[in-house]
């Protein structure tokens, strides 16, 4: 059984230009001990989906949908309360690691406080656990780092700290929202390796959000591709890389430099993403889709199991090659 699943999540925001329908019927499941990648461009709704799980949407958002966690099933609106009551052990890390750390307190104290004030441990015990945690996220001289301040360390180091901070609460799910986008490529590789190691060692599940399709298909176990607030394709990452079936997934791959011979023209998706201003009644990608059928403009394609084990929301996907 899945560790957690989201069912039919819908999120709307009021804005100056009318209502923004940021998430329109997203259903996703995360298994225990897996790394699920969520990939999409701006406006895809990937961040909003995960923020709603953590109750970070803000008062103006209107969200509906259900979350199944373990045996409990709650409405999306109850996620904040659930999390505060300690019954939804999930943690989240963000793109800007330094911004998420208190600049006037030591890094060690920000981890230790979870142990002392969150779990009621003694100061000495908390210190010991903090040092352990710092070691497990690959920091080589944890004693020194205890008294360090965020501005004294590099971006990669700070991201390790935020991972440690997130793990202090012993979550079962870690949501990482573009954690490596602001980091150098070599540091990105280290952080991804660290996450993989943590998953292998502790069985924590990870949701990894990124805009980089190459990265998620190489690093994650399963990948969900989102467009205009909906999941358009989800499946095993290797299979998805070899045979993307949704026209958007395929176009996205073809747009990345390197999938075509050098100096050739990359795939250009005509038009621009349009974020829904009303409840969607058709496929969000239809206006730009080269495989568009009449049906696509009047009906929302449901996310259904495909022939090869993944799920697909398309009326005219690419066929599976033999």
């Amino acid at each position: 059984m899945a560790l957690m699943s989201i069912e039919d999540l819908r999120v709307r925001f009021p804005s100056a230009a009318g209502t923004v329908f940021a998430v329109n019927g997203v259903s996703l499941a995360v298994e225990k001990g897996e790394i699920l990648g969520i990939v999409g461009e701006s406006g895809s709704g990937k961040s909003v989906t995960c923020q709603s799980l953590m109750g970070l949407l803000g008062p103006r958002a209107r969200a509906s949908g259900r979350v199944r966690y373990g045996t409990a099933e709650v409405g999306i609106g109850d996620m904040v309360a659930l999390r505060r009551a300690g019954r939804f052990p999930a943690a989240m890390i963000f793109q800007d690691a330094v911004a998420g750390l208190n600049p006037i307190r030591t890094v060690g104290s920000q981890i230790a406080e979870v142990f002392t004030f969150g779990r009621g441990m003694s100061g000495a015990e908390a210190r010991r656990r903090t040092l352990e945690l710092l070691t497990s996220v690959g920091i080589r001289d944890p004693q020194q780092r205890l008294g360090a301040y965020p501005h004294q360390m590099s971006g990669g180091m700070n991201q390790r700290i935020t991972i440690a901070m997130a793990l202090a609460a012993e979550p079962e799910l870690l949501i990482a929202d573009e954690p490596t986008t602001a980091l150098d490529v070599t540091v990105q590789a280290q952080i991804c390796a660290l996450l993989r190691k943590l998953v292998d060692d502790t069985g924590v599940s990870v949701i990894f959000i990124s805009h980089d399709l190459d990265l998620v298909t190489e690093f994650c176990d399963r990948v969900a591709v989102m467009y205009a607030g909906a999941v358009v394709e989800v499946g095993d990452s290797r299979r998805l890389k070899r045979q993307p079936r949704h026209p958007y997934t395929r176009a996205l791959f073809a747009a990345i430099p390197g999938h075509r011979p050098p100096f050739s023209q990359l795939e250009e998706i005509p038009g621009e993403i349009v974020i829904h201003g009303a409840e969607p009644v058709a496929c969000g990608f239809a206006p730009r889709c080269p495989r568009r059928l009449e049906r696509c403009t009047v009906e929302v394609p449901p996310l259904v199991a495909g022939e090869d084990g993944g799920r697909l929301a398309c009326f005219n996907p690419h066929r599976v090659r033999a």
């Binding site: 600049p103 969150g118 935020t162 901070m165």
Partner: protein, 308 residues
Amino acid sequence: MARNIAIAVLRMAVTVFLAVTFVFVIMRVSGDPIRALLPLDAPEELVEATRIEWGLDQPLHVQFFAYVGHLLQGDFGRSLNDSRSALAIVLEKVPATLLLMSSGLLLSLIVGTSLGVLAASHRGAFLDRLVMTNAVLVHSIPSFLLGIVLILIFAVWLGVLPSGGGPSLGHLILPAAVIGLSHAGVVARFVRSSTLEVLAQPYIKVAGLKPLPRWYMLAAHVLPGTALPLLTLIGFSLGAMIGGAAIVESIFAWPGVGRFLVSAVARRDVAVVQTIVILVALMMAAANLLTDLLYVLFDPRLRGRRPA
């Protein structure tokens, strides 16, 4: 670091020097101290003799150099009133003023910070607007008016507090209240916006995801963020209060430096006025320097680069 302190101290000295020079000139140019000292019908020879006795017949620049020379030896001059050492007289009155100002400051901080945090946590709600409007209102009332009103209410109508005098605790209540309440508005507005700024920070959002109790969040993450800017406000507040001290002390007949300054100016007691000015300038400059030092001490980002 040491160089910065040295520069700051130098700047302080220059400020004090400029203040003293200014007062020195103004006091002698704006009126005749000797005529103010002696009775109106005093004979000319007595006036002249007194003037020579006090050295006030000399040209201005000669007087000035003599004065500076004495200052550097620790001689602040004598009061025209009773020929006692100006410094001694002024220093006698300093504790009373310190008591009043620190009580006022403390009151304004307690009331202002509570109201500010309250307003920030109910941002946009009726409570927020109520607190803020009142803050502006009370601050707009001139302190002497507020003082008189409070005297009327508590000393005259209710008769529970003395209307003036001191420096006992009972006499302290009303004047401290005037200073404190008047300034609380400024503190409240400042704390409110400072708190809102801190609450908007990403690290507060991230800390909120940790399983921490709410009181701890406030005490360990929100308040420390507002404490630093509050330091600069305190530095500024001291300056504002010194200015207002003269008025409040006069209204309540509180035996402090402010009230003494008012009477000394009226009497053209030059040495006393100059001494008070020096003291006040030194105090304000020292307050600013202290604020800067504390800021560096408490904000790790300002302590200079250390290797990662």
